[in-house]
Structures are given as structure tokens and as C-alpha cells.
Symmetry: C2
Subunit: 313 residues, 2 copies
């Protein structure tokens, strides 16, 4: 397995899915209040749109839609859950960028929400985006079966709450020494893996599980896809850490070397870039095995894993 460029087909498919997701997000963030809402205050709405409608690969939604497609579900019937997951991801970015957290001024080359607006607005933006995510999943348009919608709400909550993404961000702040004497904690391999499985892995795992739930997968199908999601989550993080270690800021589209500057240990900084490249190859083999039960139908998902592992930004 090598760092092949993604195929033109794959890139077109990814862009097409992103456009579908963008349309759902744009509609969810429309001006008119929904039934049961009173008004949507302008400042909050435009700030929410700033935090969400900034382009991006929409990788997590793509994993939802491609996982669901294994079970014959067309994109139009998985895009609501996919968009909800993206809202959770965006809310976490808005809050993580706050001065009290990672204190970032730029995201994808644009001012972060608290820079373009202010901190109070950014806090409310994150809060209201999270709320909107759960509304999208619970609404009948997400899936005809309310039992499936409830399961999606529950799994999204597990992936993003104290035992998932939010808890992972807490561990990450602690690892930077924010609550002790200010010195970064020397984390060992299993600590780093746990932190990353929560902070970034849980949502990626959820993406693949969500596709299985929407598609009515049986226990084996669910297990295969959650396993695959965990593998992609690991590959995503290692690739990210490798870009931070080796990448130049221009092609990465963001500041690199930030982990080292923060004194933060990653698996890549501990074990080295060569280990990381070998590990990514091993993870792709694992992913291939996890997708084997789905045969040729899973070719796009496998290419997604390859894209995640060998991307440069």
C-alpha cells in the first residue's frame, strides 16, 4: 500500500457528498424559525453559519453515507444523520478554539467564531449547534423508524459526551499541564491512545456505526463497521500527528509543529515518522480485513481509509 493519489472518481464522490451535506446544513441554518421556535436571532444565526458553512472535506458525513450505502441506503436517506454529526464536529471546533481552551485565531484561513464575533457569541454558537444536531437526528426526516432515530441520538451522545469527545478534550487539556503545575504530563502510549480514541476517534467510530444503524445492519455488520471506524480513527490521528511533525504549514492549511510547541506527546513524536508510516500501512491492512465481509461494495470505504491515512492536510 503506498501513498497513491486518490482517484478522480473518489474525489468526485467526496465532493458530491459534501455538497449534499452542505445543502442540509444550509437549510437547518435558515432564517425562518421552525415550528416550536420563536425567532432565530440574527447575530447567533450568522455566527452559527460562520462556524459551519466554511467548506471542508466533510469526511465524517462521508463515512456515514458510504457506510449506509453498503446496505443499499441512498445518500438522500443518510444525509440528515451525516449532517448532524458534522454539526457536533463543528460545535467542538468552535468551543475548542476559544481562548480558555486552545486559543486559536484562525481556522481554514478564516477568523474563528470568537474572533469574527466575540467569546459569548462563540459559546452560544457551540451550544446551539449541538442542540441542532440532536434535533436533526430526532426529526422524522432522518429515518422512518423512531427506534433507529433514538439509537442514533443515544450513540451520538455517547460518542460526543463525557465518555467520548468532550472527555477527550478534557484529557487533552490535562495532558498539556493546564490543571497541575503547568508542565505537560508525560503520557505513555496507552494514555495517548485512550485520549485520542475519545477526542477524535469516537466521532469517526460513530460515523461508521451510524451508517450500519441507518442501514439496519445485523450485529455482525455493526461490529465490522465499528471496528473499521476505530481503525480509521487511529489512522486519522496518526496521519494528523505526522502532518504536524513533518508537514509545512502551507500544504497543511494550518499551523504545524503545534504539538511540539505545546510540549504535547503524540504516538508519532514518541515512536517516530518511520513507525508512523509503517503503522498506517498496517492499519490499512486491518481496515481491508474488517471490510472483507462486504466484498466489492466496500471499495469506496477502503479508499476513504487510504485517503485518510495518506492525506497531506
Amino acid at each position: 500500500m503506498t501513498a497513491d493519489l486518490p482517484s478522480a472518481d473518489f474525489e468526485a464522490r467526496l465532493a458530491n457528498a459534501a455538497a449534499l451535506v452542505e445543502a442540509v446544513l444550509d437549510e437547518a441554518l435558515a432564517e425562518a424559525p421552525l415550528s416550536g421556535e420563536i425567532v432565530r436571532p440574527d447575530r447567533l444565526l450568522t455566527a452559527m453559519r460562520h462556524g459551519v458553512l466554511a467548506g471542508g472535506k466533510r469526511l465524517r458525513p462521508f463515512l456515514v453515507m458510504e457506510s449506509a450505502r453498503l446496505f443499499g441506503v441512498p445518500e438522500e436517506r443518510s444525509v440528515a444523520a451525516a449532517a448532524a454529526l458534522e454539526l457536533v464536529h463543528c460545535y467542538s471546533l468552535v468551543h475548542d478554539d476559544l481562548p480558555a481552551m486552545d486559543d486559536d485565531d484562525l481556522r481554514r484561513g478564516r477568523p474563528t467564531v470568537h474572533k469574527a464575533y466575540d467569546e459569548a457569541t462563540a459559546i452560544l454558537v457551540g451550544d446551539a449547534l449541538q442542540t441542532l444536531a440532536f434535533a436533526l437526528v430526532a426529526a422524522p426526516g432522518c429515518h422512518p423508524d423512531p427506534a433507529v432515530r433514538c439509537e442514533l441520538v443515544l450513540e451520538l451522545a455517547r460518542a460526543s459526551g463525557i465518555g467520548g469527545m468532550a472527555g477527550g478534550q478534557m484529557l487533552d487539556l490535562a495532558a498539556e499541564g493546564r490543571f497541575a503545575d503547568g508542565a505537560p504530563l508525560p503520557l505513555a502510549d496507552p494514555d495517548i491512545r485512550r485520549l485520542q480514541a475519545m477526542k477524535t476517534g469516537a466521532l469517526i467510530r460513530f460515523a461508521c456505526l451510524a451508517g450500519a444503524l441507518i442501514g439496519g445492519a445485523d450485529g455482525q455488520g455493526r461490529a465490522a463497521l465499528t471496528g473499521f471506524g476505530e481503525t480509521v480513527g487511529l489512522a486519522f490521528q496518526i496521519a494528523d500527528d505526522l502532518i504536524d511533525l513533518e508537514g509545512d504549514a502551507e500544504s497543511a492549511g494550518k499551523a504545524t509543529g503545534k504539538d511540539a510547541a505545546r510540549g504535547k506527546a503524540t504516538l508519532v513524536s514518541i515512536k517516530g515518522a518511520d513507525w508512523a508510516r509503517d503503522e498506517l500501512t498496517r492499519l490499512l491492512a486491518t481496515a481491508s480485513g474488517q471490510l472483507a465481509p462486504f466484498g466489492e461494495k466496500a471499495a469506496v470505504l477502503l479508499e476513504t481509509a487510504r485517503f485518510v491515512a495518506f492525506r497531506s492536510a
Copy 2:
């Protein structure tokens, strides 16, 4: 209608409901990770408990449980939704107390979460409490029918998102002149009513609607209870503003005169304390009419409205 003291029966019932809610909250915030969670980081968990398990009347959950009881639903079967609503209320308090928002150091005589911990932790506490609220509602223990659980998720999201509580907080910050030249905006009666219907009214309205949904109420029952919820929401806010205008800090258990100090117009500051007392009496008559279809069964709910309107803290 006069400012009678609440009956001993009523107070016992309120305390009993609060204890049931407290037990569910305590369990939801237990140390052991749930299925699908990895770990629950200590610092985040204890800070979440600090933000939630601080006592209080648990008025919103009480309204859920008493509304559901009109339809023969015992408290044990409405307490999960009731506790979820309390989690949303608590998350909003934790975020509203942040320096970038209302900048409060004390709540119920204890340090606010960002004072007891730090700002980053308080942001994550609010985030993870909101997530946990939706998990509680979507879990099978909330209601046997997943369609009802989805409707509860959706209505809770509508009440707490951009078109409800979060949007109301945005309007409130704007009214304090936070985004213009710093001078408070001179709000007129309808602006203030809209702001309050969103910031505090929407969750109280949801409380009563949730009871109707859990109890399988028909359209008329739902309409009666949402109307009652809106009336209680109005009474709650007017009583609150009256306490802020007239109350002494000691009996109110919090600083009074804050609205005036912030240059914030309330219906009570515009129309006066005599108008407020008359309006509370009128609202109680409205509430009584809205509950009339339920007959004697609604006596506790009506007493709750009276308690809300004529409380001193």
C-alpha cells in the same frame, strides 16, 4: 388570590420529587463509564456534579412529573425526562455564569463551576451536560415508545436551541448593549416578552408539554398544558424581576438589584411593582382556566403556579 404560604403537603410533594430527580441525576453522573463510553475523566465528572448536584427546588422537573401525573403516569416513569430537562437548565447556568457571559462568581452560595475549577472545564461541563440530557431522553428508560422519545428530544431541542433558550440568552446579551456601543438597548414591552419567552419561558413551556407527551395526551390536552406552561413561564419571570427589584439579597439567596445595575429593562422595571402584583394575580386566573379541563386532578399544578408567582426567592 393572595400570597398564601404554600401548603405543607405541597412542599412535601415538591421535596419528594426533587429527591427522585436527584437520584436519577446522581446515577447519570456516576463514575463508571456507560456502554459505548471509554472513561469518564475525573476532573470533568466532579465538575459536572458540582454544576448539577447543588440542591435547588427542581421546579422544571416537578412540572414535568406533575403534568404527566394528570394522565395517570407515576413519577418513576416521568423522572428521566424530568432529569434531562434539569440537565439542560444546569448546563445553561454553567455557561451563563462564565466571564464572557454574565460573569458570576457565586450560585446558590457556592462558587460557580469556572471559579471552583476553571473556564475550560466549565465550557466542557456545559457541553457534556447538554449531551447527557439528550442521552437520558433517547434511552429506553425514558419511555417505552421510541416515537415519544424522539418527540421529546425534538421538543427539548426546540426549547433550548437558537429559537429558544440559547437564542434568548443571545437577545439578553444584546439588550445589555454588549455588541453595539456598550449602552443598554431600550427594549419595549413586546421585545422583553419575546426575550423572556425564549430565555426562561421555553424550558418551562417544554416541562408541561413533556408531561403531556409522556402521558399520551391528545391535541387538546397538549394545547392546554403548553398554554399553562407559557403562563407559568410569564409568572416565573415577573416574580423573578419583582424579587430583583424589591427583594433583599438574603431572602432571595442571591444578589438583587442586578437588572438595574446592568441597565436592563424588565416588564416590572417599566410598569412598576403594583402592576406586577396585579399581573401575577391575572396570570393565576389564566392558569386556572387552562387547567379547568383536568378538574381536581390539576390542583397540584395550580398550586405550583401559585408557588412560582408568589415565591420570595
